[in-house]
Symmetry: C2
Subunit: 555 residues, 2 copies
């Protein structure tokens, strides 16, 4: 792997071919830095999995080289895996104030806060980590305090955009520092790595500020009615805008949902959300106010079944019931794959007499095509790697770079685990490190793998039958059973024809084993399984899992 000591090695462990689990390794000789350390949410086929974290075996093996983890912003797909990864590789972390604040919440929850070396940086600041000099560049995104990175390495400057949009009028803080991008670009950039999420979308994203107008209009229209706004907990600027509107229309604010309560508390504490004293009330205090004096800010805008909004919609929320006339604003867009669950919540809300408004109060946090073109044109890199996207997004981003005049052989689309090596003269994919995402399920990290998932998949489709037989150790005579118990297969009584016949099929298979004098337990089990499988397939065209258990008894 270290065939050329003088090249910079870049190794993304995730964040490519998917949205989520962003983590990229930069290695030059004896120094490694890591950019971001996020989780992915499980795909549909990952049954029962809570979240997915990157496999950092490469970092464990090279732990002596690792100088630190640099964070671009505080979203889960960029910081969420830290509590797991820092247990294995305890290195300093660096990020802006809000980012570190959100990380600290997580570390506290996992009871490892005091074990971690945390460093708050400010945009504009430069730090040295080994041979790397990292300059933090102020950007704008759907969470305050995001940064891009200009990483000066012995082979040249690498610009990593993080997640960004070009917002000239953000809610909190200053606009993206285009001056800095221009300045760095002018000095010469070897490689640009940039956000591809919206590379398929023509034009520009609207500024977060434009949402204010939509809220103002809705709040003015909904006088006298209770307003419920659902959005991403991490979208601190959106929450700030809802608070602004609430202030203007003299409404008290109730915050619901665990992550919303946590993030809002952190944002208020660190000064990212400004709110007049006594504006926030608890749900117990709601009864002291009229409907028109209340706005509830809640999680659940993606239809997550356990989130506060879903629980209100399904009448299982402990404190808040939807009442006729409620105005529910979904200030978000369904993430691909969530459309149906979001629609389910919308339908339930309508059924209970609420009106649901799901348009015009959301803007994307990721750059559209014209914004990407602007960054490419300011940074003027020699080489380019599209980041943060599915294959379709990275391909489009590559096309976009080409349309701006970049040579196609200088653009590389990477997959997780790919090793990319670059110096001033060349850049190419040179290898691949095995990197299987790790599943987190309950307390277990990594104890659910593909075999377990395949079993869950099979169980979920056709259920299972357990066949239990007690046999004599000496004679292989059947002493009890066969008993057949099914779960998730079909609705059958033990006494039904199918179950009676199924037992007969097993008895016949055992007889055959006995006549052939088969004494190997595994072979007997296999005969039982095969006979039963064939019988059930003919009867039902279904293929449940069959689990034969034979108990040996001395007799």
């Amino acid at each position: 792997m270290n065939k050329s000591k003088s090249k910079l090695k870049i190794l993304p462990l995730g964040g490519l071919e998917q949205i989520g689990m962003n983590i990229t390794i930069f290695e030059y000789e004896d120094d490694i830095i890591v950019v971001d350390c996020g989780i992915a949410f499980p795909e549909d086929e990952m049954l029962g999995i809570d979240l997915v974290i990157p496999d950092v075996e490469y970092l464990k093996t090279n732990i002596d080289k690792v100088r630190g983890i640099v964070l671009t912003h505080g979203h889960e797909d960029h910081i969420g895996a830290l509590p797991y990864v820092l247990r294995d590789i305890n290195v300093p972390i660096y990020g802006t104030k809000l980012t570190i604040g959100l990380v600290e919440n997580k570390l506290r929850e996992h009871k490892i806060l005091n074990d971690v070396n945390r460093n708050v940086i400010t945009p504009g600041q430069k730090i040295n980590l080994g041979v790397f000099n990292i300059e933090f560049i102020r950007t704008t995104h759907s969470i305050p305090d995001p940064v891009a990175l200009a990483i000066t390495t012995p082979v040249g400057v690498v610009v990593h955009t993080g997640d960004f949009k070009i917002d000239f009028t953000p809610i909190y803080g200053k606009p993206i520092d285009l001056q800095k991008f221009a300045e760095i670009g002018k000095k010469g950039v070897l490689l640009l790595m940039a956000d591809s999420t919206n590379a398929e979308r023509p034009g520009y994203t609207m500024s977060e500020t434009t949402v204010a107008r939509a809220f103002d209009e809705l709040f003015s229209e909904f006088k006298g009615k209770r307003i419920i706004v659902a959005t991403f907990a991490s979208n601190v600027d959106r929450v700030q805008q809802i608070i602004h509107a609430a202030g203007k229309y003299k409404r008290k604010v109730v915050v619901e949902g665990r992550s919303m309560i946590n993030v809002v508390a952190t944002a208020i504490e660190l000064g990212y959300i400004k709110m007049p004293p006594k504006m926030m009330i608890t749900h117990e205090e709601m009864s002291q106010y009229r409907d028109g004096q209340i706005v509830i800010i809640t999680t659940g805008s993606q239809g997550e079944p356990m989130a506060a909004l879903s629980r209100m919609a399904s009448k299982t929320h402990r404190h808040i019931n939807i009442q006729k006339g409620d105005k529910v604003i979904l200030s978000s867009k369904p993430i691909p794959g969530n459309e149906k669950t979001v629609s389910k919540v919308i339908n339930s809300l309508f059924s209970q007499g609420a009106e649901v408004i799901f348009e015009d109060t959301h803007v994307s946090g990721h750059a559209y095509q014209e914004e990407l073109k602007l960054i490419h044109s300011l940074v003027m890199p020699k080489y380019f790697i599209p980041l943060h996207g599915e294959v379709r997004h990275m391909k489009k981003h590559a096309e976009l770079a080409e349309s701006l005049g970049m040579r196609s052989d200088r653009i590389t689309i990477l997959a997780p685990g790919d090793v990319y090596e670059i110096d001033f003269h060349s850049a190419e994919k040179t290898g691949h490190v095995n990197s299987q995402p790790i599943f987190v399920d309950g307390l277990g990290v990594g104890d659910v793998g593909s075999v377990v998932l395949r079993d869950r998949q099979k169980l979920s489709q056709d259920g299972l039958l357990t066949v239990v037989i007690t046999m004599s150790k000496q004679t292989r005579e059947v002493l009890a059973g066969p008993d057949i118990v099914s779960r998730g297969f079909v609705y059958v009584r033990e006494s039904s024809d199918m179950m009676v016949e199924a037992r007969a099929v097993v008895v016949k298979a055992l007889d055959q084993c006995s006549r052939k004098n088969i004494r190997d337990w595994n072979k007997i089990k296999m005969s039982v399984r095969d006979a039963l499988r064939d019988y059930l397939w003919v009867q039902t065209k279904r293929n449940p899992m069959i689990l034969p258990v034979i108990m040996e008894v001395d007799a």
Copy 2:
């Protein structure tokens, strides 16, 4: 239920609060007609289910009254349940030529074609079924030969739109017969029941013909490259347009995917698709032509994992491999819930070097708001029921009707099973018939219910442990075991600490039963289950299904 003999009773068994499973009963005294008889596709939580059909118990009970089933068009969600329902209630069916042709394919597959009385009607025709006179009105939709129904009943005229859009320039046949809607409206309509699918969308749908221009542009641009177009098999007009473009650009046509092959064959046979002789070739003949001379029309535009396009994308198609430079046109829009699977296919196609075009070659088959307003304004009904939509769509459609001046107390939003009674003076919901959708899984119809699904859900989340113990019938002494076998739980060896401890937990629970002299098998099982569940929860924060099996042996 029959409290007033002089009212018309309307009972939708499906098609409301969901997209799919359209079936509506019209009953007047001793006569019943049924409009449509469709399936729904399973929701995500209906694990292992193939399709969902309506519960027609009400029709079985009243079989002597049922005069026939009238079909509006040939989509699965309107005809798909016929092979199942006709087995229980064998009544005549009525529909246009293509609709009946597609039904016949199904009946043939289910081997009941000759048992069914099939009647081809033409738009404009009127038939009498009991007291009902039904006039078929030509409409336009995303399949040829759709009709709306004007049902003259003893209490007045009911207009049922079926699924429709207003297309003035359809590909096959004539435009929607607005004259007829106007004429019937002028004479006086008691009740309108209309398609709500796109009630949330402002403006008009584009004509199917506009897609021709997009195809023409793409075909002219993709000279020399192989073109693959994926669309709905039932969208016969779309297929016709692809064939037109193929003809113009001198390409041969290959048809792939079982349902596409079936529908195209039926459509050609019945004259709904026109194609020059020798234009269609088999995949074996493809090798005789250059890439630029071929267009492949295929199923799989919704990312269905078993459809032809998905198999091409995942390199599992038996005859066709994606090759670098292929142009794949997705001529469809993902149905809500399918976005992620569609995206997966797009990514795989890109990964294999194809270019994927997923814009501009699709128009909706359902009326947008302005089209709905036109129909309401022509029909001028006294009462209104929004059909064919989720709650959100029906609410919007109700609002739209109100915005046109209809009194809100004359609009009724129904749920499946609701009984609605109407005469010239009043219309209201008067009752509810229990109507649980029936799950079809493999050969089984109705043998998978909520208990089985709940088990599958649980199995899919945390898997299962089977605990098997052989005990003496007489002494309750343990003769063999406990043996614990797990599937889909976590990756554990039998010899792992957790499994050794788990067995110890079971042994302890059995000891306690023995000391308390508990001899009831169910109580013993419950003790084992509870002890093991508690242990596993503490160890893993997971809650697998636990299946204790005790075998009794004489000893």
